[in-house]
């Protein structure tokens, strides 16, 4: 829920009981005022206008005829709008006074019976009591236990058609208008606060989108400013930590790349010596094993650089037009020597037309090299390994690397496709392990939007297929 909506809801929830409470207080006040007015009237009538004497002299002809309201009640009434149903506008409500003996019986036959509710209250010992009576509670009645309890005026009943109103529309309207004004004030007063809060939120969001920790503006000098300041302080700490981590990461990547570079040339020389020794010893088994290890070290070096590149999430992959056919030929040539020494026939099939994809050349080359390296490394003497690039009818390509080696059982195959190169198990060097190279190949394929699928080849070995879209010509 937005801040303004929450404020509005809270104010509405507060305003309703406040208005109801104010109205109830007014109602009780009016009730007390009426009680006081009627009691004053009765006292004036009985004492100052000799009502008591007249009553005692001739109790059967008392009460008095209806009289106008006392002056102070009339003034109060004139200030208020007339009650809608109590009396027609312009007329003056009449007060009626009746006297009763202490047993609530009147000497005058025309006097109405004393109201039961009032009688019950007075019998409990109260001096006065008031109640609404008549049809629709249209009459306000006051019962008064007088000090003249032995005479015919021991109890006096005063009635008036004027009653306190439970709902007085003008008052309600005034209070509601006040509440609305308060709401409007709060609504507009919240504007700048909400605006600044939004600016803060946008600044934080922008930082998140850009993956940075740029300072956000610290306007004003209130709690929002404190919040912005706290965010900036925390951002500065994070920035520092990230800068340190980035520098360390860059140093590590640089170290890996430089190591791969520095080892590249001597390893080439070593491979040259091994190749010559293999010729001179006519394929000695020990030399062959040494050649395999050299090939493995070369692949590991390349894979280290590839992993460092894949972990460098700060930079996007290059989107060069990569010639898949040239790439296949390079990878074929790379493994030709070791395949020949192992008496594995290395074959390739390339399509007639052009085959370019968008991507990072060295990553794709290393991915494919890993697949062919696995095929040769795990192949058996007299076996085959083939790299076959095919173009689909539209703009898709399929690149298969298949061998007729021992293959991989279904369970391992499933496990290999799930495993990521970061896993510890994949990092282990195992005589029959295909984990790291295969995982890198899968990662590279995925990062290029290609699909990599593992299956058993027709000849019983492994068949790895990479499929994807060619680059537009």
């Amino acid at each position: 829920m937005k801040l303004r909506q929450r404020m509005l809801g809270t104010l509405v929830l507060l305003a309703i009981p406040m208005i109801a409470g104010a109205n109830w207080t007014r109602y009780l006040f009016e009730w007390r005022e009426l009680e006081r007015g009627l009691l004053s009237f009765a006292e004036i009538e009985m004492i100052e206008r000799n009502g008591l004497e007249r009553c005692e002299a001739n109790p059967s002809n008392f009460p008095l005829p209806p009289r106008d309201q006392p002056e102070h009640l009339r003034r109060r009434r004139e200030r208020r709008p007339p009650p809608p149903a109590a009396a027609p506008q312009g007329s003056t409500p009449r007060l009626r006074l009746a006297t009763y003996r202490s047993d609530f019986q009147s000497d005058n036959n025309r006097t109405p019976p004393f109201p039961a509710d009032l009688r019950a209250d007075l019998e409990k010992g109260g001096e006065t009591s008031s109640v609404l009576m008549g049809k629709d509670d249209s009459v306000f009645a006051l019962g008064w236990r007088t000090p003249w309890h032995d005479g015919p005026a021991a109890i006096i009943l005063v009635t008036t058609p004027h009653t306190p109103e439970l709902f007085r529309i003008p008052v309600l309207a005034a209070v509601s208008a006040l509440a609305a004004a308060l709401l409007a004030t709060v609504w507009f007063a919240m504007g700048p606060l909400i605006g600044r809060t939004r600016k803060l939120a946008h600044a934080v969001q922008r930082n998140e989108e850009q993956g940075s920790f740029k300072d956000i503006p610290e306007e004003g000098s209130d709690e929002l400013t404190d919040l912005a300041h706290a965010f900036n302080s925390s951002g500065a700490s994070l920035r520092k930590a990230m800068d340190t981590a980035t520098q360390k990461e860059a140093a590590l990547r640089s170290f890996v790349e430089n190591t791969a570079h520095d080892v590249g040339t001597p390893l080439t020389v070593l491979q040259g010596y091994l190749a010559r020794m293999a010729k001179e010893t006519n394929g000695d088994k020990t030399v062959l094993q040494a050649m395999e290890e050299a090939q493995y070290i070369g692949a590991m070096l390349a894979n280290l650089s590839t992993v460092a590149r894949l972990e460098d999430m700060d930079t996007q992959l290059r989107q060069d037009r990569v010639d898949l056919k040239a790439l296949c030929l390079r990878v074929m040539a790379r493994h030709q020597t070791i395949a020949a020494e192992k008496e594995i026939t290395l074959e390739h099939g390339l399509p007639h037309g052009e085959a370019f994809v968008l991507g990072e050349m060295t990553l794709l080359e290393q991915a494919l090299s890993n697949l062919l390296h696995n095929a040769v490394r795990h192949g058996e003497t007299g076996g085959h390994a083939t790299l076959h690039l095919q173009l689909g009818p539209s703009s898709e390509f399929s690149l298969r690397v298949l061998d007729d080696g021992p293959g991989i059982d279904a369970d391992t195959l499933k496990h290999l496709t799930e495993r990521r190169w970061r896993s510890e198990e994949a990092r282990r060097r195992h005589p029959n392990g295909r984990g790291l190279g295969l995982s890198i190949a899968e990662d590279v394929a995925e990062r290029h939007g290609f699909a990599l699928r593992l299956a058993k080849s027709e000849a019983g070995g492994l068949e790895v297929t990479i499929t994807g879209e060619l680059a537009p010509s």
């Binding site: 791969a260 590249g264 390893l267 010596y273 030929l329 390079r330 390339l350 083939t386 000849a459």
Partner: protein, 221 residues
């Protein structure tokens, strides 16, 4: 053929020279970038250029040579970084080789660059000693006509049109055999076997590519 080798590592250079000499290439070796800049690249059939050289960067030499000749240039790089390789290709390098590499890998890459191109003349294709006349529907080995059946001719023509590329058996069946008349993979293999025999001295041009199909190989010069 003369090859110019520009490589600062002496041991590696000597190995490369020995390997290329075995392949009957004549190699001139330069170990310094400054000297390489002053070398005339035009007499060479191919140039092998290491990118990390003392005094002058390999890319600068590449740029200078490309301005003077179209000689194929093969780059040697010990770095995996794609940027430098892409830049080299953009500057006109024909191919690159990442260290470490096997000596045979280098000769294969050089061989691929220097391989005699397939000649297309007078409606035919010349592949080594084999000439496939696409207009006259005939084939000659060393100038002598060879007698081919309709299926064998279609097969040879399909392979010759994409000489050097492997064609899958399924594609060859679709292109050359009538499916309603026993056009199966097995039939194709029989036709290939007969065609290979008829090609005589050129029979090794027709290679079986395991897992793919067949290819009419362009022979090395």
């Amino acid at each position: 053929m003369n090859i110019l080798l520009i490589e600062d590592d002496q041991a590696l250079a000597q190995q490369v020279i020995a390997q290329l000499s075995e392949q009957e290439y004549r190699v001139r070796w330069l170990s310094d970038g400054q000297n390489a800049l002053h070398e005339d690249p035009t007499p060479y059939a191919l140039i092998v250029l290491d990118l990390m050289l003392p005094k002058v960067d390999g890319l600068d030499i590449l740029k200078a040579y490309r301005g003077r000749c179209d000689t194929p240039i093969l780059i040697l790089s010990a770095k995996q970084d794609a940027t430098i390789k892409v830049k080299a290709l953009q500057l006109g390098a024909d191919d690159y080789l990442t260290k470490p590499f096997w000596p045979e890998e280098l000769t294969a890459r050089i061989g691929a660059r220097l391989r005699r191109p397939i000649l297309q003349r007078a409606g035919g294709i010349e592949i080594g000693r084999l000439f496939v006349d696409l207009t006259g529907h005939t084939a000659k080995v060393d100038g002598e006509d060879i007698r081919l059946t309709r299926a064998e001719w279609d097969l040879l023509a399909a392979l010759a049109c994409q000489a050097g590329a492997a064609i899958s058996r399924e594609d060859l069946v679709e292109a050359t055999l009538d499916p309603s008349r026993d056009g199966t993979l097995r039939t194709l293999d029989v036709h290939v076997s007969r065609l290979r025999k008829k090609l005589g001295p050129c029979s090794d041009y027709l290679c079986t590519i395991w897992g793919v199909g067949y290819r009419l190989e362009v022979p090395n010069p």
